[in-house]
Protein backbone atom coordinates (compact mmCIF):
# COMPACT_ATOMS: atom_id res chain seq x y z
CA UNK A 1 0.00 0.00 0.00
CA UNK A 2 1.01 3.62 -0.40
CA UNK A 3 1.11 6.26 2.26
CA UNK A 4 0.50 9.88 1.46
CA UNK A 5 2.02 12.82 3.27
CA UNK A 6 -0.04 14.96 5.60
CA UNK A 7 0.10 18.69 5.06
CA UNK A 8 2.70 20.41 7.15
CA UNK A 9 0.07 22.20 9.25
CA UNK A 10 -1.48 19.04 10.57
CA UNK A 11 -4.79 19.90 8.90
CA UNK A 12 -6.62 17.22 6.91
CA UNK A 13 -4.55 15.63 4.20
CA UNK A 14 -4.76 16.86 0.67
CA UNK A 15 -5.28 13.99 -1.70
CA UNK A 16 -3.04 13.84 -4.72
CA UNK A 17 -4.79 13.92 -8.08
CA UNK A 18 -2.21 11.47 -9.39
CA UNK A 19 -3.34 8.71 -7.07
CA UNK A 20 -7.07 8.96 -6.46
CA UNK A 21 -7.97 7.36 -3.16
CA UNK A 22 -10.76 4.88 -3.60
CA UNK A 23 -10.76 3.88 0.04
CA UNK A 24 -8.65 6.29 2.03
CA UNK A 25 -7.90 5.45 5.65
CA UNK A 26 -6.89 8.49 7.67
CA UNK A 27 -4.54 7.56 10.51
CA UNK A 28 -3.33 9.73 13.38
CA UNK A 29 -0.89 9.19 16.26
CA UNK A 30 -1.63 11.33 19.31
CA UNK A 31 -0.84 11.31 23.01
CA UNK A 32 -3.24 9.12 24.97
CA UNK A 33 -5.05 10.59 27.96
CA UNK A 34 -6.75 9.04 31.01
CA UNK A 35 -10.03 8.85 29.09
CA UNK A 36 -8.35 6.39 26.69
CA UNK A 37 -7.69 3.82 29.44
CA UNK A 38 -10.65 1.55 28.53
CA UNK A 39 -9.37 1.26 24.94
CA UNK A 40 -5.78 0.71 26.09
CA UNK A 41 -6.96 -1.95 28.54
CA UNK A 42 -8.91 -3.87 25.90
CA UNK A 43 -5.90 -3.86 23.56
CA UNK A 44 -3.53 -5.08 26.30
CA UNK A 45 -5.82 -8.05 26.84
CA UNK A 46 -6.01 -8.72 23.09
CA UNK A 47 -2.21 -8.65 22.98
CA UNK A 48 -2.09 -11.13 25.88
CA UNK A 49 -4.49 -13.48 24.08
CA UNK A 50 -2.44 -13.17 20.87
CA UNK A 51 0.72 -14.04 22.80
CA UNK A 52 -1.09 -16.84 24.65
CA UNK A 53 -0.21 -15.09 27.89
CA UNK A 54 -3.67 -14.03 29.05
CA UNK A 55 -3.20 -16.09 32.25
CA UNK A 56 -0.41 -13.72 33.31
CA UNK A 57 -2.20 -10.53 32.31
CA UNK A 58 -3.69 -9.00 35.42
CA UNK A 59 -4.08 -5.42 34.16
CA UNK A 60 -7.42 -3.77 34.92
CA UNK A 61 -8.73 -0.37 33.91
CA UNK A 62 -8.28 0.70 37.53
CA UNK A 63 -4.67 -0.51 37.81
CA UNK A 64 -3.75 1.12 34.50
CA UNK A 65 -5.42 4.38 35.49
CA UNK A 66 -3.55 4.33 38.80
CA UNK A 67 -0.11 3.79 37.26
CA UNK A 68 -0.24 5.71 33.96
CA UNK A 69 -0.59 9.46 33.32
CA UNK A 70 1.01 10.44 36.63
CA UNK A 71 3.81 12.41 34.93
CA UNK A 72 3.96 14.81 31.99
CA UNK A 73 4.33 13.03 28.63
CA UNK A 74 7.79 11.55 27.92
CA UNK A 75 9.08 11.98 31.48
CA UNK A 76 7.78 8.58 32.52
CA UNK A 77 5.34 5.98 31.10
CA UNK A 78 3.81 7.43 27.94
CA UNK A 79 1.18 6.11 25.53
CA UNK A 80 0.65 7.11 21.91
CA UNK A 81 -2.76 6.14 20.59
CA UNK A 82 -3.33 5.28 16.92
CA UNK A 83 -6.68 6.47 15.61
CA UNK A 84 -8.16 5.76 12.18
CA UNK A 85 -11.06 7.29 10.34
CA UNK A 86 -12.66 7.02 6.89
CA UNK A 87 -12.97 10.80 6.88
CA UNK A 88 -10.22 13.37 7.47
CA UNK A 89 -9.48 14.39 11.07
CA UNK A 90 -11.06 17.82 11.36
CA UNK A 91 -9.87 18.51 14.90
CA UNK A 92 -6.03 18.44 15.11
CA UNK A 93 -6.03 16.89 18.60
CA UNK A 94 -8.73 16.48 21.25
CA UNK A 95 -6.13 17.02 23.98
CA UNK A 96 -3.41 19.24 22.56
CA UNK A 97 -0.10 19.14 24.40
CA UNK A 98 2.81 21.46 23.58
CA UNK A 99 5.27 18.57 23.79
CA UNK A 100 3.82 16.60 20.86
CA UNK A 101 2.05 17.48 17.61
CA UNK A 102 -0.03 14.55 16.34
CA UNK A 103 1.31 12.78 13.27
CA UNK A 104 -1.09 12.01 10.42
CA UNK A 105 -0.98 9.76 7.38
CA UNK A 106 -3.46 8.81 4.70
CA UNK A 107 -3.36 5.21 3.54
CA UNK A 108 -4.84 4.31 0.16
CA UNK A 109 -6.65 1.00 0.50
CA UNK A 110 -7.75 -1.25 -2.34
CA UNK A 111 -10.82 -2.21 -0.34
CA UNK A 112 -12.35 -0.89 2.86
CA UNK A 113 -11.36 -2.51 6.14
CA UNK A 114 -14.14 -4.34 7.94
CA UNK A 115 -13.65 -3.78 11.65
CA UNK A 116 -15.69 -6.36 13.57
CA UNK A 117 -15.07 -4.51 16.84
CA UNK A 118 -15.54 -0.95 15.68
CA UNK A 119 -18.17 -0.27 18.34
CA UNK A 120 -15.90 -1.36 21.17
CA UNK A 121 -13.09 0.88 19.95
CA UNK A 122 -15.07 3.94 18.88
CA UNK A 123 -13.85 7.39 19.88
CA UNK A 124 -16.70 9.17 18.13
CA UNK A 125 -18.91 8.73 15.09
CA UNK A 126 -15.95 8.71 12.69
CA UNK A 127 -12.87 7.80 14.70
CA UNK A 128 -11.79 4.34 15.90
CA UNK A 129 -8.80 3.27 17.99
CA UNK A 130 -6.56 0.98 15.93
CA UNK A 131 -3.43 0.57 18.08
CA UNK A 132 -1.10 1.97 20.69
CA UNK A 133 2.51 2.12 21.76
CA UNK A 134 3.62 2.35 25.40
CA UNK A 135 7.13 3.61 26.09
CA UNK A 136 9.20 5.36 28.75
CA UNK A 137 12.67 6.84 29.22
CA UNK A 138 15.64 4.59 29.76
CA UNK A 139 19.26 5.66 30.25
CA UNK A 140 22.64 4.80 28.80
CA UNK A 141 25.55 5.53 31.12
CA UNK A 142 28.03 5.20 28.23
CA UNK A 143 26.18 7.90 26.26
CA UNK A 144 25.17 9.76 29.46
CA UNK A 145 21.88 10.26 27.67
CA UNK A 146 18.31 9.11 28.06
CA UNK A 147 16.60 7.04 25.40
CA UNK A 148 13.18 5.49 25.02
CA UNK A 149 12.27 1.91 25.79
CA UNK A 150 9.22 0.61 23.93
CA UNK A 151 7.34 -1.81 26.18
CA UNK A 152 4.42 -2.53 23.86
CA UNK A 153 3.59 -1.89 20.22
CA UNK A 154 0.15 -3.08 19.19
CA UNK A 155 -2.03 -2.71 16.10
CA UNK A 156 -5.48 -4.29 16.15
CA UNK A 157 -5.68 -7.34 13.89
CA UNK A 158 -7.83 -5.95 11.09
CA UNK A 159 -5.52 -2.93 10.69
CA UNK A 160 -2.24 -4.85 10.42
CA UNK A 161 0.11 -5.02 7.41
CA UNK A 162 -0.65 -1.44 6.36
CA UNK A 163 2.33 0.40 7.82
CA UNK A 164 0.56 1.47 10.99
CA UNK A 165 2.97 -0.30 13.35
CA UNK A 166 5.83 1.43 11.58
CA UNK A 167 3.98 4.73 11.96
CA UNK A 168 3.67 4.23 15.73
CA UNK A 169 7.31 3.19 16.20
CA UNK A 170 8.51 6.00 13.93
CA UNK A 171 6.62 8.51 16.05
CA UNK A 172 8.55 7.31 19.11
CA UNK A 173 11.86 7.47 17.21
CA UNK A 174 11.13 10.97 15.97
CA UNK A 175 10.32 12.14 19.50
CA UNK A 176 13.60 10.59 20.76
CA UNK A 177 15.55 12.54 18.13
CA UNK A 178 13.63 15.72 18.96
CA UNK A 179 14.58 15.38 22.63
CA UNK A 180 18.23 14.67 21.81
CA UNK A 181 18.01 11.12 23.12
CA UNK A 182 20.55 8.47 22.17
CA UNK A 183 18.57 5.28 21.57
CA UNK A 184 15.22 3.63 21.10
CA UNK A 185 15.14 0.03 22.32
CA UNK A 186 12.62 -2.78 22.55
CA UNK A 187 12.64 -6.57 22.60
CA UNK A 188 11.57 -9.27 20.16
CA UNK A 189 11.22 -13.05 20.36
CA UNK A 190 14.18 -14.70 18.60
CA UNK A 191 11.91 -16.99 16.51
CA UNK A 192 9.76 -14.09 15.25
CA UNK A 193 11.65 -13.74 11.97
CA UNK A 194 9.04 -11.49 10.35
CA UNK A 195 9.19 -9.02 13.22
CA UNK A 196 13.02 -9.11 13.20
CA UNK A 197 13.07 -8.42 9.45
CA UNK A 198 10.63 -5.53 9.92
CA UNK A 199 12.71 -4.01 12.75
CA UNK A 200 15.96 -4.38 10.80
CA UNK A 201 14.35 -2.63 7.83
CA UNK A 202 13.50 0.20 10.22
CA UNK A 203 17.22 0.51 11.03
CA UNK A 204 17.39 -1.43 14.30
CA UNK A 205 20.25 -3.71 15.26
CA UNK A 206 19.34 -6.97 17.01
CA UNK A 207 21.71 -7.55 19.96
CA UNK A 208 22.31 -11.30 19.82
CA UNK A 209 24.46 -11.76 22.92
CA UNK A 210 22.39 -10.11 25.63
CA UNK A 211 19.80 -11.90 27.76
CA UNK A 212 17.18 -10.38 30.02
CA UNK A 213 17.30 -11.28 33.72
CA UNK A 214 14.03 -10.96 35.59
CA UNK A 215 13.38 -11.03 39.32
CA UNK A 216 9.64 -11.20 40.00
CA UNK A 217 6.93 -12.82 42.13
CA UNK A 218 8.06 -14.64 45.25
CA UNK A 219 11.71 -14.41 44.25
CA UNK A 220 11.42 -10.62 44.30
CA UNK A 221 9.28 -10.56 47.40
CA UNK A 222 12.06 -12.39 49.25
CA UNK A 223 13.99 -9.09 49.29
CA UNK A 224 11.30 -7.36 51.33
CA UNK A 225 13.30 -7.76 54.53
CA UNK A 226 16.74 -7.49 52.98
CA UNK A 227 18.11 -4.80 55.32
CA UNK A 228 16.97 -6.79 58.35
CA UNK A 229 19.13 -9.80 57.43
Amino acid sequence: MATLPPTSTGTPNTLSEDSPLLYPLFARVRLATPSDVPHIHKQIHQMAVFERLSHVCSATEASLAATLFNSPPFQSFTVFLLEVSRTPFLNPDPNPNPSFVPISRTINLDFPIEDPESKAFRIDEDVTVAGFVLFFPNYSTFLAKPGFYVEDLFVRECYRRRGLGKMLLSAVAKQAVKLGYGRVEWIVLDWNVNAIKFYEEMGAKILQEWRICRLTGEALDAYRHFSDL
Copy 2:
Protein backbone atom coordinates in the same frame (compact mmCIF):
# COMPACT_ATOMS: atom_id res chain seq x y z
CA MET B 1 33.03 -14.46 53.77
CA ALA B 2 30.32 -13.80 56.30
CA THR B 3 28.10 -10.78 56.48
CA LEU B 4 26.85 -9.48 59.79
CA PRO B 5 23.55 -7.70 60.31
CA PRO B 6 23.42 -3.99 60.98
CA THR B 7 21.38 -2.87 63.95
CA SER B 8 17.84 -1.97 63.06
CA THR B 9 18.44 1.72 63.76
CA GLY B 10 21.03 2.12 61.06
CA THR B 11 23.65 3.12 63.63
CA PRO B 12 27.12 1.52 63.53
CA ASN B 13 27.02 -2.24 63.53
CA THR B 14 27.44 -4.13 66.73
CA LEU B 15 30.08 -6.79 66.30
CA SER B 16 29.22 -10.25 67.46
CA GLU B 17 31.43 -11.70 70.19
CA ASP B 18 31.09 -15.09 68.51
CA SER B 19 32.90 -14.01 65.38
CA PRO B 20 35.54 -11.44 66.21
CA LEU B 21 36.29 -9.27 63.22
CA LEU B 22 39.97 -9.13 62.49
CA TYR B 23 39.55 -6.90 59.45
CA PRO B 24 36.03 -5.58 59.33
CA LEU B 25 34.91 -3.73 56.21
CA PHE B 26 31.91 -1.53 56.82
CA ALA B 27 29.78 -1.15 53.70
CA ARG B 28 26.86 1.17 53.11
CA VAL B 29 24.44 1.69 50.21
CA ARG B 30 23.01 5.21 50.02
CA LEU B 31 21.36 7.45 47.43
CA ALA B 32 23.93 9.24 45.30
CA THR B 33 23.74 13.01 44.95
CA PRO B 34 25.07 15.48 42.37
CA SER B 35 28.30 15.82 44.37
CA ASP B 36 29.00 12.13 43.66
CA VAL B 37 29.10 12.65 39.87
CA PRO B 38 32.94 12.64 39.62
CA HIS B 39 33.08 9.23 41.35
CA ILE B 40 30.23 7.87 39.22
CA HIS B 41 31.94 9.15 36.07
CA LYS B 42 35.26 7.49 36.90
CA GLN B 43 33.52 4.18 37.55
CA ILE B 44 31.55 4.33 34.28
CA HIS B 45 34.86 4.71 32.44
CA GLN B 46 36.41 1.82 34.39
CA MET B 47 33.40 -0.29 33.45
CA ALA B 48 33.86 0.67 29.78
CA VAL B 49 37.54 -0.32 29.90
CA PHE B 50 36.64 -3.62 31.59
CA GLU B 51 34.07 -4.35 28.85
CA ARG B 52 36.53 -3.20 26.15
CA LEU B 53 33.99 -0.59 25.12
CA SER B 54 35.82 2.58 26.11
CA HIS B 55 35.69 3.76 22.49
CA VAL B 56 31.89 4.02 22.73
CA CYS B 57 31.84 5.63 26.16
CA SER B 58 31.30 9.34 25.72
CA ALA B 59 30.01 10.17 29.19
CA THR B 60 31.53 13.23 30.83
CA GLU B 61 30.99 14.67 34.29
CA ALA B 62 29.03 17.50 32.66
CA SER B 63 26.78 15.22 30.59
CA LEU B 64 26.07 13.01 33.61
CA ALA B 65 25.33 16.02 35.81
CA ALA B 66 22.96 17.38 33.15
CA THR B 67 20.97 14.15 32.79
CA LEU B 68 20.94 12.65 36.31
CA PHE B 69 19.34 13.97 39.50
CA ASN B 70 16.62 15.91 37.66
CA SER B 71 13.81 14.00 39.41
CA PRO B 72 13.17 12.81 42.95
CA PRO B 73 14.79 9.42 43.69
CA PHE B 74 13.08 6.38 42.12
CA GLN B 75 10.82 8.44 39.80
CA SER B 76 13.45 8.45 37.06
CA PHE B 77 17.17 7.65 36.75
CA THR B 78 18.46 6.81 40.23
CA VAL B 79 21.93 5.95 41.53
CA PHE B 80 22.80 4.06 44.70
CA LEU B 81 26.39 4.55 45.77
CA LEU B 82 28.32 1.86 47.64
CA GLU B 83 30.69 3.23 50.27
CA VAL B 84 33.17 1.27 52.35
CA SER B 85 35.14 2.17 55.44
CA ARG B 86 37.46 0.43 57.89
CA THR B 87 35.63 2.20 60.70
CA PRO B 88 31.90 2.22 61.40
CA PHE B 89 29.79 4.85 59.66
CA LEU B 90 29.06 7.38 62.36
CA ASN B 91 26.75 9.58 60.31
CA PRO B 92 23.73 7.61 59.04
CA ASP B 93 23.65 9.46 55.71
CA PRO B 94 25.25 12.69 54.48
CA ASN B 95 22.14 13.46 52.42
CA PRO B 96 19.16 11.90 54.19
CA ASN B 97 16.10 11.37 52.02
CA PRO B 98 12.76 10.16 53.39
CA SER B 99 12.35 7.75 50.49
CA PHE B 100 15.37 5.59 51.33
CA VAL B 101 17.17 4.59 54.50
CA PRO B 102 20.77 3.55 53.76
CA ILE B 103 21.52 -0.15 54.07
CA SER B 104 24.63 -1.22 55.98
CA ARG B 105 26.61 -4.44 56.27
CA THR B 106 29.81 -5.43 57.99
CA ILE B 107 32.03 -7.82 56.12
CA ASN B 108 34.60 -9.85 58.00
CA LEU B 109 37.76 -10.01 55.92
CA ASP B 110 40.64 -12.43 56.41
CA PHE B 111 43.04 -9.73 55.30
CA PRO B 112 42.66 -6.01 54.64
CA ILE B 113 41.88 -4.86 51.11
CA GLU B 114 44.59 -2.83 49.43
CA ASP B 115 42.87 -0.17 47.34
CA PRO B 116 45.37 1.23 44.82
CA GLU B 117 42.97 4.04 43.91
CA SER B 118 41.73 4.97 47.36
CA LYS B 119 42.69 8.60 46.89
CA ALA B 120 40.72 8.97 43.66
CA PHE B 121 37.60 7.49 45.27
CA ARG B 122 37.79 9.11 48.71
CA ILE B 123 34.64 10.62 50.22
CA ASP B 124 36.40 11.65 53.42
CA GLU B 125 39.23 10.48 55.66
CA ASP B 126 37.56 7.12 56.33
CA VAL B 127 35.07 6.52 53.53
CA THR B 128 35.78 5.33 49.98
CA VAL B 129 33.43 4.76 47.04
CA ALA B 130 33.49 1.07 46.07
CA GLY B 131 30.66 0.75 43.54
CA PHE B 132 27.32 1.94 42.26
CA VAL B 133 24.09 0.81 40.66
CA LEU B 134 22.08 2.93 38.24
CA PHE B 135 18.45 2.04 37.72
CA PHE B 136 15.12 3.57 36.72
CA PRO B 137 11.44 2.64 36.54
CA ASN B 138 10.17 0.45 33.74
CA TYR B 139 6.58 -0.71 33.20
CA SER B 140 4.78 -3.97 32.57
CA THR B 141 1.43 -3.57 30.82
CA PHE B 142 0.46 -7.14 31.73
CA LEU B 143 0.99 -6.43 35.43
CA ALA B 144 -0.11 -2.77 35.03
CA LYS B 145 2.72 -2.05 37.44
CA PRO B 146 6.06 -0.30 37.36
CA GLY B 147 9.27 -2.17 38.00
CA PHE B 148 12.93 -1.24 38.08
CA TYR B 149 15.40 -1.71 35.25
CA VAL B 150 19.04 -1.92 36.34
CA GLU B 151 21.22 -0.30 33.69
CA ASP B 152 24.57 -0.69 35.46
CA LEU B 153 25.87 -2.58 38.45
CA PHE B 154 29.52 -1.96 39.21
CA VAL B 155 31.89 -2.84 42.03
CA ARG B 156 35.46 -1.59 41.83
CA GLU B 157 37.90 -4.41 41.12
CA CYS B 158 39.62 -4.66 44.51
CA TYR B 159 36.26 -4.94 46.29
CA ARG B 160 34.79 -7.74 44.16
CA ARG B 161 33.86 -11.26 45.29
CA ARG B 162 32.78 -10.08 48.74
CA GLY B 163 29.01 -9.89 48.30
CA LEU B 164 28.97 -6.17 47.58
CA GLY B 165 27.37 -6.52 44.12
CA LYS B 166 24.67 -8.63 45.70
CA MET B 167 24.23 -5.96 48.36
CA LEU B 168 23.68 -3.28 45.69
CA LEU B 169 21.25 -5.36 43.64
CA SER B 170 19.40 -6.48 46.78
CA ALA B 171 18.94 -2.85 47.76
CA VAL B 172 17.22 -2.19 44.42
CA ALA B 173 15.05 -5.30 44.82
CA LYS B 174 14.05 -4.32 48.34
CA GLN B 175 13.07 -0.85 47.17
CA ALA B 176 10.98 -2.37 44.35
CA VAL B 177 9.10 -4.51 46.88
CA LYS B 178 8.65 -1.52 49.18
CA LEU B 179 7.07 0.47 46.35
CA GLY B 180 4.79 -2.43 45.35
CA TYR B 181 6.56 -2.86 42.02
CA GLY B 182 6.26 -6.06 40.00
CA ARG B 183 9.74 -6.77 38.62
CA VAL B 184 13.43 -5.97 38.66
CA GLU B 185 15.12 -6.57 35.31
CA TRP B 186 18.58 -6.21 33.83
CA ILE B 187 20.63 -7.81 31.06
CA VAL B 188 23.63 -10.12 30.96
CA LEU B 189 25.92 -11.37 28.19
CA ASP B 190 24.98 -14.95 27.29
CA TRP B 191 28.58 -16.18 27.59
CA ASN B 192 29.05 -14.71 31.09
CA VAL B 193 28.27 -17.96 32.90
CA ASN B 194 29.55 -16.74 36.26
CA ALA B 195 27.27 -13.72 36.19
CA ILE B 196 24.31 -15.85 35.08
CA LYS B 197 24.94 -18.31 37.94
CA PHE B 198 25.16 -15.40 40.39
CA TYR B 199 21.89 -13.86 39.13
CA GLU B 200 20.07 -17.21 39.20
CA GLU B 201 21.20 -17.73 42.78
CA MET B 202 19.66 -14.36 43.56
CA GLY B 203 16.34 -15.67 42.24
CA ALA B 204 16.36 -14.22 38.72
CA LYS B 205 15.09 -16.06 35.66
CA ILE B 206 17.09 -15.68 32.45
CA LEU B 207 14.73 -15.08 29.50
CA GLN B 208 16.35 -17.09 26.72
CA GLU B 209 14.04 -16.24 23.80
CA TRP B 210 14.03 -12.44 23.88
CA ARG B 211 16.47 -10.24 21.95
CA ILE B 212 17.07 -6.53 22.35
CA CYS B 213 16.43 -4.31 19.32
CA ARG B 214 18.33 -1.03 19.28
CA LEU B 215 17.84 1.99 17.04
CA THR B 216 20.69 4.45 17.52
CA GLY B 217 23.13 6.78 15.75
CA GLU B 218 22.37 7.66 12.14
CA ALA B 219 19.63 5.02 11.92
CA LEU B 220 17.78 6.82 14.72
CA ASP B 221 18.58 10.28 13.39
CA ALA B 222 16.86 9.31 10.12
CA TYR B 223 13.52 9.68 11.94
CA ARG B 224 14.12 13.36 12.63
CA HIS B 225 11.87 14.42 9.77
CA PHE B 226 9.42 11.53 9.98
CA SER B 227 6.23 13.61 10.08
CA ASP B 228 7.40 15.59 7.04
CA LEU B 229 7.58 12.48 4.89
